[in-house]
Symmetry: C2
Subunit: 306 residues, 2 copies
C-alpha cells in the first residue's frame, strides 16, 4: 500500500513573517520580526519571505520593511525574499538587499481590481515590467497567482484560466508560480483539476502550492500535490495570519502541521520541527491570540502538562 | 491526474453526541442532547452514536444515557448506537432500545489498564462475552480499537499488533473495527502501514477509521484511507470533544470538515453540509467555547459578515 510516487525532498517557502503577520490585526515591532526571521532560519528554512514593500497605507503591518531587511542576520544558504506589487516595490526591495522578490497577480478580475486596483491584463503587464527590470539586477521573481482555486467575489475559477495565466507568467520571466488558494476552498479533486490543466503547459518544477487552511483542507491538498509530483509548498509558522475564531479568518497552512506531515512521510524539508515550534512561540503574545497550528497547540498542551 | 480508485459512497458514523460530548468539560442537559441527535438525523446521518452506558463516576457527562435514548425521535433508516464497556453496559443499552453497541478495547497494555482497568487479554475476553450475549438479542457489536496508531503511555504501536488484535476482534464476533487514533498522531504513511497489515487478515469492509485531529492530519488520513478503499469513517459534529485551545486537546475529526472534503471529491455520504452546520450551532454556547471545526468556523465568519 506504499505510495511510491512521493518525492523524497521538498522545498518550503516560509511566509509567516509576511503573509502571516500582514494578516494579523496588530503591528509587530521590527525587532520582533527580525528575531522571528532569524529563528526561522535557525530552524532550517532555506527560503523565508521576510516582508512586503507595498504602500504603507494599505499594509501598515509592513511599514518597517526596510528596517526588517537591514536587521536580519543573513545566514548562508538562506534566500530572503520580499513581496512587491510593482516597479516601485522592486526598487525598494532591491535597495534593501533581498535575494528574490514575489509579485501577486490574481486569476480573477474582481479580486485583481480590489487587491491591486488593476485589471488582470494590467497586472500581467506589471509582471512583465518587473521581470525585465529584475533580470537586469539578477533578481529572481516569483509570482503568487491569487484566487487560483476560487474567488471571494466571482466564486469558482476555471482551471483552464489558471493554466493560461500561469503559462503567461512563466513566459514573462517568472521562475516559479505559487498557485494560491486565497480563500481556502480547495480540495483534492480541484487541486488535481488545476494541476492537470497547468502542467499541460508548464513544467511541474515551475510550480508551488500555497494553501490556506480555512476549511481544514490545506494538508490533504498538499498531499495531493505531493502525489502529483509537486515539491514546493508555502506555509506560515504557527499558522500566523488566521485566528480560527476571527470572522473571515483565512489562515495560511501552518508550517508546523506541514512539517509534521512531511516528517511522517519521510520527506526531507530541512526544517526541524522542535526548533520551528520554538521559533513561533514568542509570536503568540505579540499577536494576541493562540496560534492556530494544531501541532503547535499539541506541543503547548504537552508542555503545560509537564 | 484523477484518482480512479476512490469509492463513490461512504458511510459516516457520527460520534459527536458521545465521543464529542464525553470529552467536553461541561454537562449538556439531556433535552439538548436529544435535540442534537434529532438534528443530526435530519442532516442525513444514518448512524449516530448517541451516548455511553458506562459508570457515571467515570463519565458524568453520560449519566443521562437512558433518558437520552428514550427521548430521541427515531427516524426510519437511522441506526442509533451506544458505547458500552461490558455486559452490564450491554444490558442497560439493550433496555434503552439501541440498535447497535460499540465496545472499546485498546491496542496497548498501559492504555487498556488506565482506560478499562483491564489487561488487553481481559478486555478481549469481555469483547467475546459481549458478542455472545449481544448475538442472542440480535444486536450488532462494533469495536473501537484505541491507540491503534500510537499510545500516550507506550508511544509507537506495532502495526502487526493492530493486525492481530483486529483479527481476534472479528473472530470474536465484532462486525466492524474502527481503528482509532486516540491521540491524533497518525499520518498517511502510518495509516498505510496499519492498513497493509490489518487487511492481510481482515476484509476492508470490516474496517472503519476513527481519527482525532490533534495534529491537523485527520483529513489527510481519511483521504489515505479512501485511496486504500476504506468506506467507513467516524467524525464528530462541530469537532466537539476538542477545543484547540485547551491543554491536551485531542478533538475528533469534525464531521463538517469531512463532509466538505467528501463533497469536493464527489463522494456520497448522505449528509447535507448546511444542515449539519445548523445541527452543531446550538452546541457552541452549551460547551462554552468556539467549535473547532474549520468549516463550521468559516460558515460562522461568512454569516457574521452578512
Amino acid at each position: 500500500m506504499h505510495n511510491a510516487v512521493l518525492p523524497s525532498k521538498v522545498r518550503l517557502v516560509e511566509v509567516g513573517p509576511r503573509d502571516g503577520l500582514q494578516n494579523e490585526p496588530v503591528f509587530v515591532p521590527a525587532a520582533h520580526k527580525i528575531a522571528f526571521v532569524n529563528r526561522l532560519a535557525d530552524a532550517g528554512h532555506s527560503t523565508i519571505e521576510v516582508t512586503a514593500f507595498v504602500t504603507t497605507k494599505y499594509l501598515p503591518q509592513m511599514a518597517d520593511a526596510a528596517e526588517v531587511c537591514a536587521g536580519i542576520t543573513r545566514k548562508a544558504g538562506v534566500r530572503y525574499t520580499a513581496l512587491i506589487p510593482n516597479l516601485v516595490g522592486l526598487s525598494r526591495a532591491r535597495d534593501a538587499g533581498v535575494d528574490e522578490v514575489a509579485i501577486f497577480p490574481a486569476a480573477t478580475e474582481a479580486f485583481s481590481r480590489r487587491n491591486l486596483n488593476q485589471t488582470v491584463e494590467e497586472a500581467l503587464a506589471t509582471v512583465a515590467d518587473v521581470c525585465r527590470e529584475a533580470r537586469s539586477s539578477g533578481l529572481p521573481v516569483r509570482a503568487y497567482l491569487s484566487t487560483s482555486f476560487g474567488c471571494p467575489f466571482e466564486g469558482p475559477v476555471a482551471p483552464s484560466r489558471v493554466r493560461d495565466l500561469t503559462a503567461r507568467l512563466i513566459d514573462a520571466g517568472i521562475y516559479e508560480v505559487a498557485l494560491s488558494d486565497t480563500i481556502g476552498v480547495a480540495h483534492p479533486r480541484l487541486v488535481l483539476d488545476v494541476l492537470e490543466q497547468v502542467t499541460s503547459r508548464v513544467p511541474l518544477t515551475s510550480l508551488a502550492l500555497h494553501f490556506h487552511d480555512t476549511r481544514g483542507t490545506a494538508l490533504v491538498n498538499v498531499y495531493t500535490g505531493l502525489q502529483a509530483g509537486i515539491t514546493r509548498f508555502d506555509a506560515s509558522a504557527g499558522g500566523l495570519g488566521g485566528c480560527p475564531y476571527a470572522p473571515g479568518a483565512t489562515g495560511n497552512l501552518a508550517t508546523e502541521d506541514l512539517v509534521y506531515l512531511l516528517d511522517g512521510l519521510g520527506i526531507e524539508s530541512g526544517v526541524q520541527l522542535d526548533r520551528l515550534i520554538e521559533a513561533s512561540r514568542p509570536l503568540e503574545p505579540l499577536v494576541g491570540h493562540p496560534l492556530p497550528s494544531r501541532v503547535f497547540r499539541a506541543a503547548q498542551a504537552t508542555a503545560n502538562q509537564r
